[in-house]
Symmetry: C2
Subunit: 435 residues, 2 copies
């Protein structure tokens, strides 16, 4: 048994407390698997006196997290402060510069600064690990970096935000509308008081951009992701989707343009999608997360589990620590930073697919003809259409599913209808995921 | 970019050819991810002249696979010969003794000799890797060894044999009987001419015993697994299960006795099970594999994908080679062999659960009373019972689901009925998986 791996923990919220508990409860099995003890020696948090249900007296306390980076008795710093910049980033840079390993659950920081930090870690010869930053306890960073490493990946996609999935599957189960379910989720603590990072898709996009880098061997390009959330999904969308054999899920998807296409590049999108019942993502309910990677030799791999919370996130953080304790680590993004490509963003218009469209229209003659004409003129072929029920705007609901065609045609059709007095609200468009 | 990792390949069947193709097709991405080239330098197979659709002239040829172990130009030997003993085991021992890394897809050999080989590899300071031995392309060895390493695992279980899952899901979709679907699967090449390793559960048990070692930190104990296959599943079982809200799957399950139980130990079973529709394994169709691990912090993790075939298996083999090329490897069973516990086998009778029972009975008065009395006398409580239709033996089918109770009570009830002239065939019993 070697020397203990000495850990400093910055941030003692839910996840930080979870890491302390895990290393207490599973001490023996972690030590056997890691080949050495993993010991917290120092901690830092904003409020020393808060009761977290754990005994902190055995650890050194630092008021300033940045001090942890340069303690002589520390081998690894675990950052659980959060935020793309600020104290978290300062701590990351100082820790790596001081020649110590760095573990984080911080998706925003990795999405924005991960490649720079990986370069620093390479230079310093230390580990930069972030399993907990994507999909909580599911080992999907490892699954892409190592498990699927032999494959050229065509697509990577998944359900990356448990709050959105909880809201959508609750709307589905109970036929209720978005605002009502969100309010309840906030009261129950399943959604933040300011839920916009979750429900507008930003959190999922952070995770997606990290997965895309691993899948395609590219530099992270968070800004290139097209991101919309789930605010505009209404109960009727979910009911129509159900009737047509689909479920509505917020899906983050990254895809490399097929070889030989005129516009090679990387496409990244976070969007509410219609998922066919036969697709495994249709069965991912509640706050679960799931990630699919499609490789040219392995085929479709699915990883599913709990994407957030004290236990799952702590599990991922300590898995990173065990890798470090074993000496089993290497380039953070699967290859040296110099080998990562910079892929141009691909445009959605070049993609082909099917779409769901929903309009709230005035209840008067000629409206359907107007919509149908816009579709025809844009070259959109309608597979099925249903006109039923009232909408929140007091109009009539028209929902349709298109045949496969270029996405730009659907965008064009919607542009043709813009400003029409027949439309009572902004039309809703959702892409349909292939089986 | 470091020196190339030089590979010798023993066995050029479907998987061997797949490894050659993968390293050709994905050469560039594999080299970037591995940080160095991975190059096959020598091969061995039974028949040099067979057309495998790949150019072998660029590799050195060895008639005797064992020669590969001691070639000076080889860093890793990949064994794809198969068989628990014989040439595969000889090659493994010689390769490790010669101080070279060893990668295999051979579940039978790992189940029987894996711990011994892991000890040899530790002594020699080389890697022993076997991701392809369990669930083909799904990185489940890595998922347990590393991804879930921070957890005490309560249960690990899954669908580990694609042939059985193909047969069961085809029976389910088409309402046909076992023998008919097996025959068709054999004609289509989905099942072996001698299918007994698959359909009698031996293949799944090999894989299960390996997963159990990783999950529980124990020495592999293949002989302790209770194994039955799917030969005795009839179309009516699947139909009854469906009507009750279940699907029939061959499930390999390993479970540690809860702490404090009178009979601590490890329980391993491969058995046709009723899986509730709400459980993710119920949606695993065709030849897919899936593995679930339940950890005390991470909760339930699911890994799903293609469990066999050229591409997926080659993907797993090359993932192992990439780990070796990166220098990211360590103890084969997650911890040094000396740290692995030897857990006593736990007895099924000590477990509690629900069961499905199906009887083929003579169509005469008093038979149902006889069965019901045996259940009562053994302390088995019946939740639902259905008597319907004819059985292959010309009798009447009686199917029931029990309430939760000790498994030994069900065994006792069946023992009480043994030899009864009312029964026209051996009763069928399947356990019911908890959601």
């Amino acid at each position: 048994m070697g020397q203990a791996l000495r850990v400093a923990l910055a941030g003692l919220g839910t996840v930080g407390a979870g890491v302390v508990k895990l290393l207490d409860v599973n001490r023996e099995i972690v030590e056997r698997r890691a080949g050495r003890r993993i010991e917290i020696v120092a901690v830092s948090a904003r409020d020393r006196s808060r009761d977290r249900g754990i005994d902190l007296s055995r650890f050194a306390w630092c008021d300033d997290a940045a001090e942890l980076a340069s303690r002589d008795d520390v081998d690894v710093v675990v950052e659980l402060i959060g935020g793309a910049d600020g104290p978290a980033l300062t701590l990351a840079r100082r820790t790596i510069a001081a020649g110590r390993h760095f573990v984080t659950a911080n998706k925003a920081m990795i999405a924005h600064h991960g490649i720079g930090l990986a370069g620093d870690a390479e230079t310093a010869g230390v580990a930069l690990k972030y399993e907990a930053a994507v999909a909580g306890g599911i080992p999907v960073i490892k699954g892409l970096r190592e498990g699927a490493a032999a494959n050229a990946i065509g697509r990577v996609y998944g359900i990356l935000n448990g709050t959105c999935n909880y809201i959508l599957t609750t709307m589905e189960a109970e036929g209720r509308d978005f605002a009502e379910v969100l309010g309840e989720a906030q009261r129950l603590g399943y959604a933040e008081a300011d839920p916009s990072f979750d429900i507008d898709g930003v959190d999922a996009a952070h995770k997606l951009s990290i997965l895309a880098s691993l899948a395609f061997g590219t530099r992270i390009d968070f800004d290139a992701a097209a991101v919309t959330g789930i605010r505009h999904v209404i109960a009727a969308d979910i009911a129509q989707a159900q009737a047509l054999g689909y479920r509505v899920r917020l899906v983050g998807l990254a895809e490399a343009s097929p070889e030989g296409s005129s516009t090679a590049g990387l496409f990244q999108r976070v969007h509410a999608c219609l998922v066919p019942h036969a697709h495994p993502l249709a069965h991912v309910a509640g706050s679960l997360n799931a990630v699919v990677a499609e490789g040219n030799f392995v085929g479709r791999l699915l990883f599913q589990g709990r994407g957030a919370g004290e236990g799952p996130t702590a599990s991922a953080v300590v898995a990173d620590l065990i890798d470090i304790a074993r000496g089993e680590y290497g380039p953070a993004f699967a290859m040296p930073v110099a080998s990562l490509a910079a892929m141009a963003p691909a445009h959605s218009g070049d993609r082909r697919g099917r779409a769901y469209l929903r309009f709230s229209v005035a209840d008067r003659p000629g409206v359907l003809a107007e919509i149908a004409a816009a579709m025809r003129d844009a070259g959109v072929s309608i597979e099925s259409l249903i006109q039923r029920g009232a909408t929140p705007e007091g109009g009539v609901l028209v929902a349709m599913v298109t045949h496969e065609g270029p996405e730009r045609a659907v965008t064009d059709a919607l542009a043709r209808l813009e400003g029409s007095s027949s439309l009572l609200g902004t039309p809703m468009m959702m892409h349909i995921l292939d089986v």
